[in-house]
Symmetry: C2
Amino acid sequence: MKKGTIECSVCHSKLVSPTTRSVSRAYDRHKSRVSSKQRALNFLLVVGDCILVGLQPILVYMSKVDGHFMFSPVSVNFLTECAKVVFAVVMLLFQARHQKVGEKPLLSLSTFMQAARNNALLAVPALLYAINNYLKFIMQLYFNPATVKMLSNLKVLVIAVLLKMIMRRRFSVIQWEALALLLIGISVNQLRSLPEGATSLGLPITTIAYIYTLVFVTVPSLASVYNEYALKSQYDTSIYLQNLFLYGYGAIFNFLAILGTAIIKGPSSFDILQGHSKATMLLICNNAAQGILSSFFFKYADTILKKYSSTVATIFTGIASALLFGHTLTMNFILGISIVFISMHQFFSPLSKVKDEQHNGKLEMVDLLDNHR
Amino acid sequence: MKKGTIECSVCHSKLVSPTTRSVSRAYDRHKSRVSSKQRALNFLLVVGDCILVGLQPILVYMSKVDGHFMFSPVSVNFLTECAKVVFAVVMLLFQARHQKVGEKPLLSLSTFMQAARNNALLAVPALLYAINNYLKFIMQLYFNPATVKMLSNLKVLVIAVLLKMIMRRRFSVIQWEALALLLIGISVNQLRSLPEGATSLGLPITTIAYIYTLVFVTVPSLASVYNEYALKSQYDTSIYLQNLFLYGYGAIFNFLAILGTAIIKGPSSFDILQGHSKATMLLICNNAAQGILSSFFFKYADTILKKYSSTVATIFTGIASALLFGHTLTMNFILGISIVFISMHQFFSPLSKVKDEQHNGKLEMVDLLDNHR
């Protein structure tokens, strides 16, 4: 293969070298040929995500003893990473047994070492995710949980900005507005859960609070986008091998954190299985499955679809709990989901996309003209 | 002039006969040549509307004696119609004095009679407006004021449907969504003003309530759209002459209502000036000015612009009162106006309009092909 070109593992077409720009271009081209297969995959991803997110509150409820968690939250993160590593190894063995003749052996040491070198970038999102797990606890000290939830909504916009910067994704004006509407829609839905006094933007407007908010919102967004970038830039490495690296790094970072806690707080906090039950194991499996599904979103779809999927899952959970437990749907909920559905239609509608591609076309024409001068 | 054609009074181009379809087409074509003059007019209309709507709460406050109105609300409607008639007559006299040589005399009996015959349609919106004034009182008996306000928001969508049916206006999907967002944005802003129990769609869900709501929303919307249709379909009649007819009919219908009330309740309710003060006269003048400005919106812009204008006016009033009286802006207000501004941008953005015209182009091509078969 020529230097600076790469073969697409899906359509076997030669692509230009994987610089940031062309990775995104190549993916855009790949995406524009969206087949019914891709659509079916997107659908399955969203349905799977909805089921896992829907199970979450039930498992959380079952994991509590007298309304409290008996285990250390840090240990949950570590055990989740371990569960993901186990899943990745099992899937890798399964995939290796079903390899066709002539394909590069998945389990050879040389393949593994080369993939490890190529996918070293995955250490970045793994570290960012680990940092984020600690930031969550810090934020709870500064803001009440409802405000934290509200601030989390800002991630949608930060993710879009980062996708533009890192993945060179282009969004039309309508798509930017759709993302703003997604943020607004989720916020309208959450408005009633804010404490009474807080409805008038009840945030402590201090510089330190601003900085914490900025860090709290940027770190997980950067983790997701960088994860998408790292997974897609090595498109021909098996996703299970990529997961093995990602979660391996994650387990190491979380283990170091537990080690650090044990050194500071004494060895009692080192007993990571303390307080766990069958229910908490199910919760950990659910967390792990959500994480694995995310990596499929990042590699084969994108971070924005993942965000919409989570929102739709929350909506379905709301409707289901209203139907099951006979709650009435609040006006906030109805207005909120209307905004979310309009936002979703506008973001994925070809109406807003075609504009974008025409725009791209024009830009490329300008590039061509510039080259010929 | 050929039968079935008409000359545009603005650009002097020959247009096809004024059937409903072509009136709207002609106006669309007229509108597509939107000059900076038209934009300046739109801007002046919106600014004027904002000032008048902004003055309203101050005048209402000044008109109250010990927190109550001392006059009959029916008399306000009648006096407002009379004020409008006076204004129309004054403007007509003013316009007649400044007529150029060779123009048809505005004040001749034959011109007046011909215009009256051509503009007989204006009796329809005048009657609908008069009916609406009574419906408002009936609604207050069935729903609380906040719910009435909330239900009023539905008018935006009903107006759009009626514009499509009566004026053959075409909206793109994005524009329909923008109108839905306008409705949602205003509702989010009003959410806090709903009484506690009512946040879970606190409407009495009875058939009669549905019917009242339908009538309450449809009558004023139909009045506005039919007004726009009647004013635009006789585009070359002076707007002051058209106003004279419209408000003349309005005054007659309201006078009949007062007469009816006097017959039922006794002659004391016939004293229409009872309880009025200088402040209430200013309130009536403001109402009259808003009505006159509406007719400019309907003839030279459209009902949708009027709706957006009123919403922007409410937003500015909210911001101004927050600045003047040191209120904090609520989260609802901020989320609500964000939605309204996104909606406004999407509705008026060329992004959503061009699509629509391409679509029109395609439809006309299909029509042509059909004709040649």
